[in-house]
Amino acid sequence: MSHPVTQALGCVLSISPTMQAVVAFLKTWWVELVCGVVIVAAVPLVAGYVVLVERKLMADMQARLGPMRVGPHGLLQPIADAVKLLIKEDIIPRDADAFIFWFAPVISMVAALTSMGAIYFGPAFRVAQDINIGILFVIGVSSLGFLGIILGGWASNSHYSIMGALRSTAQLVSYETAGGLAIISALLLSGSLKIRAIVDAQSDQHVWFLFLAPVAFFTYLVASIAETNRAPFDLPEAESELVAGYMTEYSGFRWALYFLGEYANMIVVASVATTLFLGGWLRPFSNVRWLDIPMGVLPALLIAALGVYCIYRAGKQPVKVQLGFMWVVALCCFGVAVIYLVPWLVAPLRFAIPGLNGAFWFLFKVAVYIYVFMWLRFTLPRYRFDQLMHLGWYILIPLAIVNIFSVGIAMFLSLELGWNRWLAVMLTTAFTLAVSLLLVRLHDKHASAASSTSAVPSDSYAG
């Protein structure tokens, strides 16, 4: 697909040596460039709609409607919000450190976007080629976003901001550690840092790493919520205590940058979790051959079903505009479904099927992961800061460390000694859980009455 296009382009432009150099550059890098541009352009939009989805879901769980004014069912709300934020007055507080204040949100946003560079949003849709530190790159660069938070909080010259910044720093240091240790378990299982290799390993081993290292997944889930400052760990921006934490003094576009950075970060951690634990772009039961055709068509059918549902709902719209809009949405769905179906019908386009389906499954898993984030946010109260620290240092980090050994032992047992893999996994997981229970027990015993967290994490996330 790449060759005919670029070659034709090359013929036209191969006049001067400079042009040739440019063409050569483009020839090698065009996928990266296109994907990069798409990501930079799409992330704000996607983040905006993630916000809308979050508000809608929250509204649904809270017995209300959510945004309904801008566009049918509030579908244009993100655009209205963006416009509002862009034209809002940009206030820089007196005595603020203007340069850092100006610069800090950019760091957050850039870090989040850059880290997406190494993510595979599907077998074909990626920016960077398979760099051999892929997953580390994502984690490392996305953690730079915290610099933006810290500096922004400091530069605002406000108590609330600086406390938010301090909290986020402490939280970052604690939960990066836990998250990193959790990732190591998955890396042990895959034996590589390359993202493609990790997914391939899950394909080769016929199992998602979620099932081989459930404790690691759980640890990463908790740590990733904390890293993205989401409830119940949203202390840096806990609105009831610190107004808006490090964002208190920000307004307008700079605030929007922070906000986008936060949601982009959510997509990043969800992608990492999907890659490491949920089989990346592999479809469910990817090794069951006879499911190839039904599961292959499933994405198209699901999207088409969404379109049908839209048509069904369209009949119930009270306003004509909304009815029309629902039809448009339905048609869009059908259009996408057709795009998914065409390769099945046209033989020369067959090669696109894995890419399309892979992208669908990957994004689907990311969406589910983000949905869990939201669900927890609507359900749970917020941790207190000391409780958060205790949870991180006394429970999650030891748990993650123990789990590394458990996973190692399980691998040793099944690979070297030929045990049944599931038996080994169950035994070691049971061991890890026993250790963690012990830790919780010890911790509870030691914790003073005032600062005791009676939080057994596995309990609090049960619902």
């Binding site: 009831s240 917020r382 005791s452």
Partner: protein
């Protein structure tokens, strides 16, 4: 108070950490100070070393207004104090003036007053629960609570045409008869409410984060409560089984059975449990009351012009937030010579300092929430 000792201790700490005390100004525009409360926090890191409440931003001089209005004219003003429990305010004021006049209110009026006041107690506690949970970070209970409160407000609206500042009662009884279907509405609400309250219990009571955030936070012993004048659910959560509705029954409370829930620790969690149980008990009172509302007049022997004999009277009721007292001095004219209102929020708010010293910033909002203050009442 024992503050000076603690102050010394904190100062020692400071020298060790190097003058690192931060004064954080919380409010008057802050999302979780429930209005325009301003709290100056002295912080050592995130730990609270001392507080100072700055209030009065909502001061309207209600007591001064009272001296310039007739007894009847002043009645709507009291609704504006604790605006989430306007009916209770009205009840207290009307009964105080009735006491001053020494008139008897017909039993039917008293029963209807009781029903409405208990509904108001539920509504007030619902607002408390929603905002308190929101302060601690649980978003969803707020909307559930307001959904139920809406039902109560609808009943109020049907009864007297107003939802929030109802002015539901008149001195001497009631102006309005209960509307057709009043009993049915109340009953439907009460039947529903049993299930609804289970929603909050599911979301919060057993939640380990909730427990972690509320247990042992803002502990107030019974002695402290009494010394600081903290009453209502705060006092009961500290283990004092005392409720004015039982101790000195007013309205028609002596006719109904209900329990006084008490706590043991006097911490935020106990106060939460006490208020939850109070809502159930209020529901119970309502159910008993609607079963048999006595027939008869709804207005006692009170003339158009209220001119109490000179003298004074103090009357207090168990408002949702604590003792709401009215001290009225009459000079024999149609206007009260002095109306002193003992606002529960104002007095309870004094306990704030005691409750959060040594706790973390995050606990400040939990404690402000658990005090259940309404700034309209604090500042009057």
């Amino acid at each position: 108070m024992a503050d000076s000792i603690q102050n010394d201790a904190s100062q020692q700490n400071n020298t060790l950490l190097g003058a690192d005390e931060l004064v954080l100004n919380m409010g008057p525009q802050h999302p979780s100070t429930h209005g325009v409360l301003r709290v100056k926090l002295k912080l050592d890191g995130e730990r609270v070393r001392g507080t100072e409440c700055v209030i009065g931003y909502l001061h309207r001089g209600v007591e001064k207004i009272a001296e310039n209005r007739t007894y009847q004219q002043f009645a709507p003003y009291v609704d504006r104090m604790d605006y989430v429990a306007a009916v209770s305010n009205g009840l207290g004021y009307c009964e105080a003036v009735e006491k001053l006049l020494q008139v008897e209110v017909p039993i039917r009026a008293r029963v209807i007053r009781t029903i409405l006041t208990e509904l108001q107690r539920i509504a007030s506690h619902l607002v408390w629960l929603g905002t308190h949970a929101l302060d601690i970070g649980a978003l969803t209970p707020l909307f559930y609570c307001f959904r139920e409160r809406e039902e109560i407000l609808k009943i109020f609206e049907k009864y007297c045409g107003a939802r929030l500042t109802t002015h539901a009662f008149r001195i001497g009884g009631l102006q309005y008869e209960s509307y057709d279907g009043f009993e049915k509405d109340v009953e439907r609400f009460c039947k529903d409410f049993e299930r609804r309250i289970q929603d909050y219990v599911d979301l919060l009571t057993g939640n380990s984060i909730w427990i972690g955030r509320t247990r042992n936070v803002g502990v107030l012993s019974a002695e402290d409560c009494i010394a600081l004048g903290a009453t209502g659910p705060i006092l009961r959560a500290s283990g004092v089984k005392w409720d004015l509705r039982k101790a000195q029954p007013y309205a028609a409370y002596d006719r109904y059975e209900f329990e006084i829930p008490i706590g043991t620790n006097g911490d935020t969690y106990d106060r939460y449990m006490v208020r939850m149980e109070e809502m159930r008990q209020s529901r119970r009172i309502c159910l008993q009351a609607i079963e048999n509302i006595p027939e008869g007049a709804i207005f006692g022997k009170v003339g158009k012009v209220i001119k109490p004999a000179p003298g004074e009277v103090y009357h207090s009721i168990e408002a949702p937030k604590g003792i709401l007292g009215y001290y009225i001095v009459s000079d024999g004219t149609t206007q009260p010579y002095r109306v002193r209102i003992r606002p529960p929020s104002f007095v309870n708010l004094q306990a704030l300092d005691k409750m959060i010293r040594g706790h973390l910033v995050a606990d400040v909002v939990a404690v402000i929430g658990t005090l259940d203050i309404v700034l309209g009442e604090v500042d009057r």
